[in-house]
């Protein structure tokens, strides 16, 4: 499917989501309540068939935290970017997609470790690179009093 | 025959005579034992050093580099330097080891090759013990070495050592069967177990050629099983560095580690020496049965030199295996023995017995 057809189909099916095209890849921002069922649909519907989760990243914005999913279909070879925002910076909780794509389990552990977003129903929510004495370094307001001297 | 002038029997006889005439028989025996013991100790020490150096140089040649070159001319003093360093290292005993067994293991492992060397004929007349069951003695005594390995693995109080020791023990016990059976094939051909007799019988030609097909099969099986016995070459899973550190001798340091290390190389020498004696003629020069002129020329080289040339040939072959092939997994090692080498060996013994009975050998 081309990018336009994809966006058209998705915005018709999910009017609550905000779509954007014209950039490199089509983007869709889902509210976090509908995220899991949307992702399930993306994988199981035959003419969408997004079976390859390329990358899952977390981004820190001033008001909220965002998780960005880059998805590709190995059969149709179309690409989609899905975004989902947390409520605010203090309660950063989202649904996990690791039951849909197993690789997400480890990407989400990394996001939890570095950004502090917890994922519901995750199999093994542990920290990855760092241990519990660290905060969440990738956040913009991260202050490390021991190791970093601010002038 | 010209090589009789290289016979050591007159020398040992004259020493014995000299001692008997001057001191009591008891003291003679004790002095003779001491002389033999010291000679063997020196031999083991020097030969061990030489083999370690040879291994490093051979390994370097295969890997297109030079090996030790700096310590002494051509790196000859390298191994001596290494052993001096090992002697000076601190003997670290880990915390909760079984002290008696931990200290006993390296001694068992080093005494066994010492015992086995005593039956090897280096030259005519240069053999310490000449039983009429020499071959049997060798296989029996070398089996005791596995106790040392198992003790080392168990007493170290370390998971890695235990795994390594168990693997190694299983491997050695299995391959002893193959070693023993291939030696028995040649005993069938020779008709005797006495080691000096076996060498004498190869006067007209080495057993490898006399016994043709079964002897060649037995030789191949013996070399493969011998490499596995000494935990070398493609069968060195027990001490594979890239898997579980150093296997059963992880927790040993200093002189105790040196014992394990030295024992491995002396075992290599023993396997090669047995291969030489039983298949390649021991100290017998290379004779063709009827070409008198050729034989006389061959006889000018002393038996001692022939023996060591052949032993080094087999040692080089075994070292070549180690540096070329990848490692086998433990279940593949044991499968090789029990499902392939053992049936081949049994069939080979039958074949050899048939050939001997029908007289189809030279």
């Amino acid at each position: 499917m081309t990018n336009e057809q994809l966006i058209e189909q998705l915005s018709k099916a999910y009017p609550a989501a905000a779509t954007k095209q014209g950039g490199q890849y089509p983007e869709i921002t889902m509210p976090r309540e509908m995220l899991h069922s949307f992702m399930q649909n993306l994988k199981s519907e035959p003419n969408l068939a997004f079976d390859y989760l390329v990358c899952e990243s977390g981004v820190d914005y001033p008001e909220y935290l965002q998780v960005v999913y880059h998805l590709e279909s190995t059969t149709h070879r179309h690409f989609l970017v899905v975004k989902s925002n947390t409520e605010n910076r203090e309660t950063a909780v989202l649904d996990t997609v690791c039951d849909i794509w197993p690789t997400a389990e480890f990407h989400e552990r990394e996001i939890y470790d570095l950004l502090g977003i917890t994922f519901n129903h995750h199999h093994d929510m542990r920290r990855f690179f760092l241990d519990n004495t660290w905060g969440h370094p990738l956040r913009k307001d991260f202050k490390d009093d021991i190791h970093v001297v601010e002038r | 025959m010209a090589f009789e002038k290289y016979d050591f029997t007159p020398l040992s006889q004259s020493i014995h005579q000299g001692l008997i005439e001057n001191v009591s028989p008891l003291l003679t025996t004790i002095i003779e034992w001491t002389i033999i013991g010291v000679l063997y100790l020196l031999f083991i020490a020097l030969f061990g050093l030489l083999l370690v150096y040879a291994e490093r140089k051979v390994c370097a040649a295969f890997q297109q580099r030079l090996g030790p070159m700096r310590v002494g001319p051509w790196g000859l003093l390298q191994t001596i330097a290494d052993f001096v360093k090992l002697l000076m290292k601190e003997l670290i005993t880990p915390n909760r080891v079984d002290k008696f067994l931990y200290n006993l293991a390296p001694f068992i492992v080093i005494i066994v090759p010492f015992l086995t060397i005593s039956v090897i004929p280096f030259a005519p007349g240069l053999q310490a013990l000449d039983f009429d069951i020499g071959i049997f003695f060798v296989t029996a005594v070398s089996s005791v070495g596995v106790i040392g390995v198992l003790l080392a693995g168990w007493a170290s109080n370390n998971k890695y050592s235990l795994i390594g020791g168990m693997r190694s023990g299983a491997q050695i016990v299995s391959y002893e069967l193959s070693v023993g059976l291939s030696l028995i094939t040649m005993v069938v051909l020779a008709g005797t177990m006495q080691v000096s007799e076996i060498v004498e019988l190869q006067r007209g030609g080495w057993f490898l050629f006399k016994g043709h097909i079964p002897a060649i099969i037995a030789f191949v099986v013996f070399v493969v099983a011998g490499t596995a016995e000494t935990n070398r070459g493609p069968f060195d899973l027990a001490e594979a560095e890239s898997e579980l550190t150093a296997g059963f001798h992880t927790e040993y340091s200093g002189i105790k580690f040196a014992f394990f290390f030295l024992a491995e190389y002396i075992n290599l020498f023993i396997v090669s020496a047995m291969a030489t004696i039983v298949f390649l003629g021991g100290w017998m020069p290379f004779h063709f049965g009827g070409f008198e002129a050729f034989n006389t020329i061959m006889d000018f080289i002393p038996g001692l030199i022939w023996f060591f040339m052949k032993v080094f040939g087999v040692i080089f072959l075994i070292m070549w295996f180690k540096w070329t092939f990848p490692r086998l997994r433990i279940d593949q090692i044991l499968t090789l023995e029990w499902k392939y080498l053992l049936p081949i060996n049994l069939f080979n013994i039958l074949l050899m017995a048939t050939i001997v009975l029908l007289g189809w050998h030279w």
């Binding site: 390329v54 990243s57 981004v59 093994d124 760092l130 | 594979a240 890239s242 490692r327």
Partner: protein
Amino acid sequence: MADIIEKFVTTDEIKTDEYLVNMGPQHPSTHGVLRLLLKLEGEIVHNVDPHIGYIHSGIEKMTEALSYPQVIHLTDRMDYLSAHMNNEAVCLCIENALQVEVPERVKYIRTIFDELQRLASHQLWWCASGMDLGALTAFFYGLRDREDILDIFEETCGARLTLSYSVPGGVMFDIHPNFQTKVKAFIKKFRKILPEYDKLLTDNIIFQNRTKGVGILSKEDAIAFGVTGPTGRASGFSCDVRKHNPYSAYPYIKFDEKIGTDGDCFMRWKLRMDEMWESLNIIEQLIDNIPEGDHAVKMKGVIKLPEGEFYQRVETARGEFGVYIVSDGKKNPYRVKFRSPGFSNLFTINHIAKGWKIADLVAIMATFDLVIPDIDR
């Protein structure tokens, strides 16, 4: 799987006939600082739990304080065996964002360097894996041949390992006058050496017994776990970025994407050897036809990307490498995320190593070709 992990977390429930062994962080065959917590029963592996982070340098956080050309120097250090491909990914991302068209000469040079880098990476993989499996001589043969490629790199850009040769807009220096002759001589020599590599290991019966049928990864699992590169292609997952989303000079050349069927260690091994042959073919197609022109386009002194998000994918020696840049119009990026191939590849090991022995785990790790700084970033 979930219940086994739960048992890990509450350790008082471990059965008594299983034991935990640590493989790493200092271990000769984990290719870097990786700690594998193995749950073993005798020799059989029941669970593999990788613990990473021993070489975590916070590269993604560092990029937020650096300018765009400085980010390129950080990418060298991540997967240091595919340094040029990492550099190229960031440069392409920046160039696409700024809509800058690089000269044809630059595209050819970048692709030739990519393929030379791929050859060097696979050579190091071959020699280190040979050593892991016990063929210690293989280590020296691979390194000896790799020296030629590193000499070629050094002549042109001054560095052997961490190249930093691509910059936004082109390459840092023009190629050395000897470049073409040296590369052609190297290709001729290496075509004779590759069959030796096959004779030494791939055709060896001991090696085949160790790797055939071991650690099978099915195609569905490869896609589900996001395993790319030769590891994924050996399972049948067609994921070569050079074919599906070509960049630089890849649209101009013909080459095959080798895909395997079995997904076992032997197939992964064979596929990397085949990729080396393909790289030689690609370089041969390009080396004589480098167009004349500039080696870089003049860019502004301070590079500022427009506001927005940009994602670029390249094919490194290990798999698909992705760069995701979020920019807010300033001269430092707002967020850079690197999608590293090793990250997805590593975590399949638990799935495929269950039930195999420790020696097989070493064979599986060897054929996965992991570089730990790539995973830890």
